[in-house]
């Protein structure tokens, strides 16, 4: 049997999940080999700033890196960049890389993430139709925005809204097209999305809801958008943010069960021995819920990376956390925790119109989620209170004269 020090862990995917896993393995005392393979040219980096501070030019490229370039050498982590894993052979325990090399493994962790869902309509392949998922996308978008005066955003999710806010800050006119009746339809409550839509509108963003884009117009560059109802809008660049698709090709080809992500257990183990999956690509039963989720967020990637690092080093797993998420738009800081699915009522603390409030969502008397805007104390209080039956305290949450710490017992 191998001792830990001559074991060989291979991580496929050098995003937030994969990069963090390599670091956690060393933190937890693992002394064997680690190989981190990424198809991008860059060392692992923070993606969230790509639509915000980095796109605005406020921070340097190096500030995005999870760890400095020198880290991987100093921690004895073999970093193989610009290489895609093309084949996984679980019988021989080997992966084959696009560059022609291969790597044997004792334990394999798939952290291939997700990629932007592509539009497939006439004109969607024009040069100034942008997506935003990785640094290369962001560089192209930043370049495109520099010469853009009117941007069409397709999709009213986080990518669409954050880029709309950034574009407005750069003085670009923005029209946002969303298929459903409201922004953040899948991921935010109705009152939150209504507030955000009004806020974006005051900043000059125009919205077209229930708008289905039929065609991107233009000969060699996008110059307009035509909706299925015939309306036409002029633009000189298009950003598409219509969701993400997990990168499961490698797993599917290796015979792993995939259903909107690689199906894993609570410890992120796949059905194959010594093969794990973490991050945006993993479809996992969340320890706090009786359902499978594929959660696209940094905190989830971190939690899963810690879980697998614990598992592989024989360390007790840290306690499960409620899913949470943040976003920054203009001067608004959004922080959300919990899952809205079971909510059937809500209580607002603070004044929505003031732009500083928190919506607490309940399933009957039990707090299940909270959405905070410029209300960090409420967000952190909610993190502690989720799952708690609040009963008569529920209505008092809206009373700003009752200090938050009265609710935390």
């Amino acid at each position: 049997m191998n001792t830990q020090s001559d074991k060989n862990i291979v991580i496929v995917g050098a995003g937030h999940a994969g990069g963090s896993l390599a670091a956690f393995l060393r933190q937890y005392g693992y002394q064997g080999r680690i190989t981190l393979i990424g198809d991008e040219a860059s060392v692992p980096y923070h993606r969230p700033p790509l639509s915000k501070a980095w796109l605005k030019g406020e921070i340097a490229l190096e500030a995005l890196y999870l760890k400095p370039q020198t880290f991987y050498d100093s921690q004895n982590i073999e970093l193989v960049l610009g290489n895609r894993v093309v084949t996984l052979d679980p019988k021989e325990k080997v992966v084959y890389l696009s560059g022609g090399e291969s790597r044997d493994y004792d334990e394999l962790v798939i952290a291939t993430g997700a990629n932007s869902r592509r539009l497939n309509i006439p004109g969607s392949d024009l040069g100034n139709v942008f997506y935003l998922r990785n640094l290369e996308d962001a560089k192209k978008l930043a370049e495109g925005l520099r010469v853009c005066s009117r941007l069409a955003v397709i999709g009213g999710g986080y990518i669409g809204l954050e880029c709309a806010a950034t574009a407005r800050a750069m003085g670009i006119e923005v029209t946002l097209f969303e298929r459903t009746p409201r922004a953040l339809e899948r991921v935010a409550s109705e009152p939150l999305s209504a507030f955000l839509t009004r806020y974006h509108a005051t900043k000059g963003v125009e919205f077209c809801f229930e708008a289905s884009v039929a065609e991107i117009l233009g000969a060699d560059r996008a110059s307009g958008i035509r909706l299925t109802d015939g309306r036409v809008f002029q633009c000189d660049a298009v950003l598409v943010g219509v969701g993400a698709v997990p990168n499961t090709e490698l797993a599917v080809a290796a015979g792993l069960e995939c259903s909107n992500g690689i199906v894993v257990d609570e410890d992120c183990r796949t059905a194959l021995p010594s093969v794990f999956a973490i991050g945006d690509v993993a479809m996992r039963p969340h320890p706090l819920f009786q359902r499978n989720f594929r959660i696209e967020s940094v905190p989830s990637a971190m939690e899963q990376a810690k879980r697998v690092a614990s598992y592989l080093t024989g360390k007790a797993a840290s306690a499960a956390e409620q899913p949470w998420f943040w976003s920054d738009q203009y001067d608004l800081k959004l922080q959300m925790v919990g899952l809205l699915g079971d909510a059937n009522q809500h209580v607002v603390r603070g004044d929505i119109e003031s732009g500083k409030f928190c919506i607490f969502h309940f399933s009957d008397d039990r707090l299940v989620a909270a959405e905070a805007i410029n209300a960090s104390p409420e967000f952190f209080a909610a993190k502690k209170l989720i799952g708690v039956e609040l009963a008569e305290d529920k209505a008092r949450l809206s009373d700003m004269s009752v200090p938050l710490n009265e609710f935390i017992k």
Partner: protein, 105 residues
Amino acid sequence: MVKVLFLRNDGAEYLVEGEVGMSLMQLAMNNNIPGVDADCGGAMSCGTCKVRLDNEWMEKVDPCSEHELQMLEFSGSDFPGIRLSCQIKLDDKLDGVRVYIPEQQ
């Protein structure tokens, strides 16, 4: 260079050096110091880079901004001297600072 000693509850100590202007969080990240997660990378969104300083050192760092105070109010920090390490920039008067890492973020 500024010398910083990170200390964990389990007794582990990490003596590292950083450049003036770098944040304590960045220094912890660069040296892979366990217990400082920094999910958001310094965007003041996550509250997972908390550290604690002694009184002696608290007097030498810039005070908390209003937002940082709000971030700390309910973020599981029930002892004084707690700060977000992403908000503390290294400077010469911090040379030799002792930084305690909480058991949990």
